[in-house]
């Protein structure tokens, strides 16, 4: 059986139909969901884990979970939000108690191996008012990715979720099981470390 549905952003009915098909075992539908979301899921896993290899493993875990739980998605939120939240929770639960893993390969490999960066602007926009919108060069982006990968786990997690992904501190506190104040402290520490690493101060 071949899914003929096209996944269009904000097309909730299309998402439901596709999810229903995938949930019933339609490979084409599941592959379509994978194609639509894998790059975002991988980016999240990569930045949160700090390791390309680990990110690949985590992404696989995510999609196995997606397949297992797709039937529980009720369509109240966008499927993408449901998948990304599942991703964050899974990466966090895997990261708890785990020693910090090798990080040097992260962004370096992501870029050096010809990994393609695609459509970039998110639906979330908070935080952007802080900065002067200055387009970063590719080199600056690579430097930033590398520096993020080298952050300590806690600081990296909060920085990625807050400054890259746009989650609120309250949401991050819930997801990570820490106090909101701790999240804020981790964020400011992460920014300090990044600025030092990037030679800002």
């Amino acid at each position: 059986m071949t899914a003929r549905l096209e996944l269009v952003p904000d097309d909730r009915d299309g998402e439901r139909a596709l999810a229903r098909l995938a949930s019933s075992g339609d490979e084409a539908a599941f592959a379509q969901l994978y194609r639509a979301h894998s790059s975002r899921v991988f980016a999240l896993c990569l930045r949160m884990s700090g390791s390309r290899q680990r990110a690949s493993e985590l992404m696989q875990d995510v999609f196995v979970h997606v397949w297992e739980r797709l039937g529980t998605w009720r369509g109240d939120s966008a499927l993408s939000s449901w998948i990304y939240r599942l991703t964050v929770n899974l990466v966090l639960s895997n990261g708890r108690g785990e020693q910090r893993r090798q990080t040097h390969e992260t962004a370096e490999n992501a870029m050096d191996e010809g990994t393609e960066h695609r459509s970039s602007r998110p639906e979330r926009s908070e935080g952007s008012e802080l900065g002067v919108a200055r387009p970063a060069s590719v080199h600056e982006r690579i430097d930033l990715e590398r520096a993020i990968a080298k952050l300590p786990n806690g600081a990296r997690t909060v920085f990625v979720l807050h400054d890259v992904e746009g989650y609120q501190h309250a949401e991050i506190a819930t997801m990570t099981g820490t106090a909101e104040g701790t999240c804020r402290a981790q964020l400011h520490r992460a920014r300090k470390l990044l600025m030092e690493a990037l030679g800002e101060r």
Partner: protein, 227 residues
């Protein structure tokens, strides 16, 4: 204007940039910033960093081989989940359903009942109570199912054999003894079916025995894989 000798640290300026500080402290920092180019630069750096992070691409292409890995793992999970009737019902028509999954489906069609439920002959008979109209069993279909299971069981057997070194000798003995018991039961059911090929209850019993064997082999394989 003289530059101040002391400066705010990045964490404080970061909190200031996020508007987290109380009005008194924020006012003090604003006054300081008016006089301190170092802290102004630092604050600008924080803001540029946040803007750069926000501008990072949301998508990074996953490794090309990842899809195959996901596909394989989903297929494996489907087999394990197969023991759950709910899971079986949910994932019908799946691409991973080859071999024994197809066989199980065939038995369902032939016997007109769920093959995963009966675990013993007694239970199999019990499930017959209150069942709707009886289904005529085709001996040819039963033979086909038999062959399908054989292939799958061979596959699982090979898999277990390749990993049996990971199991303790006592575990291997228990597995082998259990398999022998099930094989005996399968042989008896097949023998009975040879005499009475249209007996629906016997088909159910046979299928239940096959299921038990598949399940046992799967669990033993999983056990060996976990070491």
């Amino acid at each position: 204007m003289n530059e101040p000798m002391s400066h705010y640290d990045i964490e404080t300026l970061s909190a200031f940039a996020d508007g987290e500080l109380n009005a008194v402290i924020a006012a003090r920092i604003e006054r300081h910033l008016a006089e301190c180019s170092v802290c102004r630069d630092s604050l600008r750096g924080v803001r540029e960093l946040v803007a750069a992070a926000h501008a990072l691409p949301r998508d990074i292409a996953a490794p090309a081989e990842a899809w195959d890995a996901v596909r394989t793992r989903v297929g494996r999970v489907a087999r394990v989940a197969r023991g759950s009737p709910a899971a079986s019902r949910r994932h019908t028509g799946s691409w991973w359903r080859s071999g024994w999954m197809a066989a199980a489906a065939a038995i369902v069609l032939v016997a007109g009942t769920a093959v995963l439920m009966p675990r013993t002959a007694g239970k199999a008979k019990a499930t017959k109570v209150g069942r709707p109209a009886p289904v005529v069993v085709s001996p040819v279909a039963v033979a086909n199912v038999d062959r399908s299971y054989s292939a799958t069981l061979s596959e699982l057997r090979e898999s277990l054999e390749s990993q049996r070194h990971a199991l303790s000798p006592s575990t291997v003995r228990i597995v082998e003894r259990s398999l022998a018991t099930i094989d005996t039961a399968i042989a008896e059911a097949r023998s009975a079916l040879a005499s009475d090929p249209a007996n629906q209850a016997l088909v159910e019993i046979l299928s239940a025995h096959y299921e038990r064997k598949v399940e046992l082999l799967q669990r033993a394989t999983e056990l060996s894989s976990s070491f």
